[in-house]
């Protein structure tokens, strides 16, 4: 019984202490909430006051930043971040971007430099985002110092992004030595924003970069839709890694350019359905007279996806429908005929 009495006593104390702590926290949260509401109103007011000044400076030919635009405290910086981010997201004029860059280097770099030194991860992350968005190259060395600290994966990615803008050599060097394992998606975030000549530098070390990075490079080249990169992609088509080959076919298809059609024909007989699927799409970019013999094979492919794609591709080319009609007459493959009929029905 004594034990229960003791437990009750301990427990009551725990609860009272807990409730007291919660009460303090509640008051703290409520004050925070109130302050935030006031702050929101203040920010709105400041935004209204200052946005015309910013318009004048950035878009009209305002040469020098008005003294009033320079932020005096953290609240004002927050509003300016909002304004500049909106400009960067919506307006592309290079002269405007240049002005943002010079303003940020001059008036905001000090603040972000301090933020980088903070222990709070989210504060450092926010600073890294801004440094790369506003192009504050003055802080490049401060960023490099970050590497020496215990650096999270997210921070590393942001650092590489910053290097890719201000110091491409370090960026490529870091990609090769891989300080942390990035996913393909992360590499893609990085590579997608590479400038043209930086991208070419990266292509030179293609074999040395990690596999996920290779994938992202191939995809990025496809998205560029430029003929310049197609020889590079075609040159890799005999890569031993199937995933690489599939990505290459996809990228070449996306780019819309085919330079050496004969390079692709053997994929019609590939043992991987993904390769056959991609080559089916790709052949659609060539004149039908040259490719129809391949399509006949693909229309009778064992994979639903390949048959479907083949029928769709042929159906979408000029004169394709007639060819498909003729094909139904001669083919004996039940699945192929079914698929072609379906596509023909859909189009009408």
């Amino acid at each position: 019984m004594g034990m229960i009495g003791l437990s009750i006593e301990i427990l009551s104390r725990i609860i009272i202490v807990n409730l007291l702590i919660l009460m303090c926290l509640a008051i703290y949260v409520i004050i925070l909430h109130k302050r935030k509401n006031i702050q929101i109103r203040r920010d709105e007011k400041y935004l209204k006051e200052i946005q015309h000044g910013w318009y004048h400076y950035l878009i009209n030919k305002g040469e020098r930043a008005d003294k009033r635009l320079v932020p005096e405290n953290e609240d004002e910086i927050r509003v300016i971040e909002k304004i500049l981010s909106s400009y960067l997201a919506n307006i592309s004029n290079p002269d405007i971007h240049k002005k943002i860059r010079s303003f940020s280097n001059q008036y905001l770099s000090h603040y972000y430099g301090d933020q980088l030194k903070r222990r709070k991860w989210s504060a450092r992350m926010n600073a890294l985002y801004r440094i790369s968005d506003f192009q504050i190259d003055i802080l490049l060395d401060d960023c490099k110092k970050q590497e020496l600290k215990k650096c999270s994966k997210e921070e590393w990615l942001q650092l590489l992004k910053i290097y890719s803008k201000f110091d491409i050599n370090s960026c490529i060097e870091k990609i090769i030595i891989e300080p942390v394992l990035f996913s393909e998606h992360e590499y893609r975030k990085l590579v997608l924003n590479f400038e043209q000549d930086h991208l070419e530098r990266l292509l030179q070390v293609f074999d040395e970069v990690p596999r996920p990075c290779q994938f992202s490079i191939i995809d990025t080249l496809g998205l560029k839709r430029e003929t310049d990169y197609v020889p590079f992609l075609e040159g890799l088509l005999h890569h031993e890694e199937a995933e690489i080959r599939i990505r290459l076919l996809k990228a070449i298809y996306e780019s819309g350019w085919i330079i050496n059609p004969e390079t692709y024909l053997h994929f019609v007989h590939s043992s991987l359905w993904e390769e056959r699927l991609m080559v089916t799409k790709l052949l659609g970019r060539l004149p039908l007279d040259e490719t129809f013999s391949c399509f006949k094979i693909l229309l009778e492919d064992e994979s639903w996806w390949v048959r479907n794609q083949a029928a769709k591709t042929v159906g979408s080319i000029k004169n394709g429908k007639e060819k498909l009609q003729a094909f139904i007459q001669t083919s004996r493959d039940k699945f192929a005929i079914e698929m072609v009929n379906e596509i023909l029905k859909k189009g009408s």
Binding site: G5, L22, K120, E342
Partner: protein, 476 residues
């Protein structure tokens, strides 16, 4: 002491069981709350717009098919679709599945979005009830409507999966509303993990009291209805005290059907949603976990607290009771169906931690806790040492109920500012202190009812779904 010895021992034993249970639960909740706090603190004040901007790029995001199963949803479905059309996302298609509604759902959709009937071949990867017609919108070419025969929510979702063009699909209840960036954020774990994450559940919050028009929440106010306020607290608690920390260790067994994204490939592989259970969303997650473990794959199922889906909560005792009963029945069904995973090392942490935890806390919890309430009442009458026992238990309940609820509410109010009015926050904090005295026993009772339903109707699964699905997903 006027009671004879065996009786005394028995009641002591029960009291001890309950106390031990409470202590275990309180300890595990403390751990989970701490984890949740650390997680939230890391992201505190992080500007997520940077990540969002990147993900808005079509080259960095995967296209998603949004499936909206609708059975007699004429009241809310237009709002839902409007909110889906206004999502910030690079590439989506929206498939509404009219599961043989008997009200005006179909007509409303057709006239609001100028739908036209189209011929379309659907690949039946998962068998479903027959599809009658398919419609496409004139306003937006990526908006589709499937009209099919009634087959229940799971069947409707499966039909949507069959029509889906994209590698991921998102299921949204026909009366829920997404924030404009919710889909973007719920997809973030999937794309940034490079498809290692195959399913993600978002945070479901209660929209009652909010001003909603054409799919946009433009004023978040706390409802005046006490029952709704309690549910707001309960949802918060469930997320803070469960999902966040379970997700960290890939232990999530439930992601809400009201708002979740799945990789289509894997869902098709486990045969889609199961038609013959009450809680098709939990069942799917358990099936996925099971498949992953059986195939020894390192894929993950996650919960993310940030992307929000707003949903309408029941406002009356009757509806709430039915909902809770059904949820609990669904939960027990799934646990029972996959009972062999329990304490089975083959299923790793899911088998060793999640399952036992769900059995003990989620499934049997109501029984034990209610026992505790009853024990307290009886013990007060007997006085003496029972009296002390009762006080001890009461204190544990208060610690367990009030303290954790309040902490959840505070944590949420600190990290996000959902409610613009400070008075709403104060109201929430106050109400969270009262939960343990009235709302908690009520829900326990209803859940227990669900448990009994499971015991009684276990063998008649087959004819349970005919009526179609009612309001909500099967769980929080």
């Amino acid at each position: 002491m006027s009671i004879d010895r065996p009786m005394e021992l028995l009641s002591l034993f029960f009291g001890n069981v309950i106390i031990i249970y409470m202590v275990v639960v309180i300890l595990s909740y403390t751990v989970m709350l701490t984890i949740a706090f650390l997680h939230i603190r890391k992201d505190y004040q992080l500007d997520k717009d940077g990540i969002d901007e990147g993900n808005l790029n079509a080259a960095l995001m995967k296209p998603v098919t949004i499936i909206v199963p609708a059975y007699n949803e004429e009241a809310g479905v237009l709002d839902t679709i409007h909110s889906l059309l206004s999502l910030r996302f690079p590439q989506t298609e929206i498939i509404i599945v009219n599961d043989g509604s008997t009200d005006d759902t179909q007509q409303k959709l057709i006239s609001e979005f100028h739908m036209n009937r189209v011929e379309k071949v659907v690949r039946k990867e998962i068998p479903t009830e027959p599809i009658r017609h398919i419609y496409q919108s004139n306003v937006n070419q990526n908006l589709w409507l499937i009209e099919k025969e009634n087959g229940g929510k799971a069947d409707a979702l499966n039909a949507g999966i069959n029509l889906a063009r994209y590698p991921y699909f998102c299921s949204i209840d026909g009366d829920s509303i997404l924030n404009e960036k919710s889909l973007l954020r719920v997809m973030n774990p999937i794309v940034s993990s490079n498809d290692e994450v195959i399913a993600v559940g978002g945070n479901v919050r209660i929209a009652n009291g909010h001003h909603v028009k054409l799919g946009s929440v433009f004023e978040a106010n706390l409802s005046k209805n006490h029952l709704v306020v309690m549910q707001v607290i309960e949802y918060l608690r469930a997320f803070m005290m469960g999902r966040i920390s379970l997700s960290k260790f890939n232990l999530v067994l439930i992601i809400s059907g009201a708002f979740s994204v799945f990789s289509k490939k894997w869902v098709v592989e486990v045969g889609g949603y199961s038609k013959h259970t009450m809680g098709e969303d939990m069942e799917l997650v358990v099936k996925l976990h099971r498949l992953l473990k059986e195939k020894k794959l390192k894929k993950q199922i996650q919960f993310v607290p940030d992307p929000v889906c707003w949903t309408e909560a029941p406002q009356s005792y009757a509806v709430l009771r039915r909902q809770r009963r059904r949820w609990h029945q669904g939960l027990v069904e799934s646990l029972w169906k996959h009972k062999k995973m329990t304490f089975n090392p083959k299923y790793g942490a899911i088998g060793m931690i999640s399952f036992p935890y769900f059995w003990l806390v989620e499934c049997l919890g109501p029984l034990i806790e209610l026992g505790g309430y009853v024990y307290i009442i009886i013990a007060f009458f007997f006085g003496g040492m029972y009296y002390e026992f009762a006080i001890l238990l009461t204190l544990l309940f208060i610690l367990y109920g009030a303290v954790f609820s309040t902490a959840s509410v505070l944590l949420d109010a600190w990290s996000k500012d959902i409610y613009p009015r400070t008075s709403d926050v104060v109201h929430l904090i106050f109400m969270s202190l009262t939960e343990v005295f009235w709302f908690r026993p009520l829900t326990l009772l209803w859940r227990l009812e669900g448990f009994f339903h499971f015991l009684l109707r276990r063998k008649e699964w087959g004819n349970m779904q005919r009526a179609g699905f009612t309001k909500k997903g099967s769980s929080l």
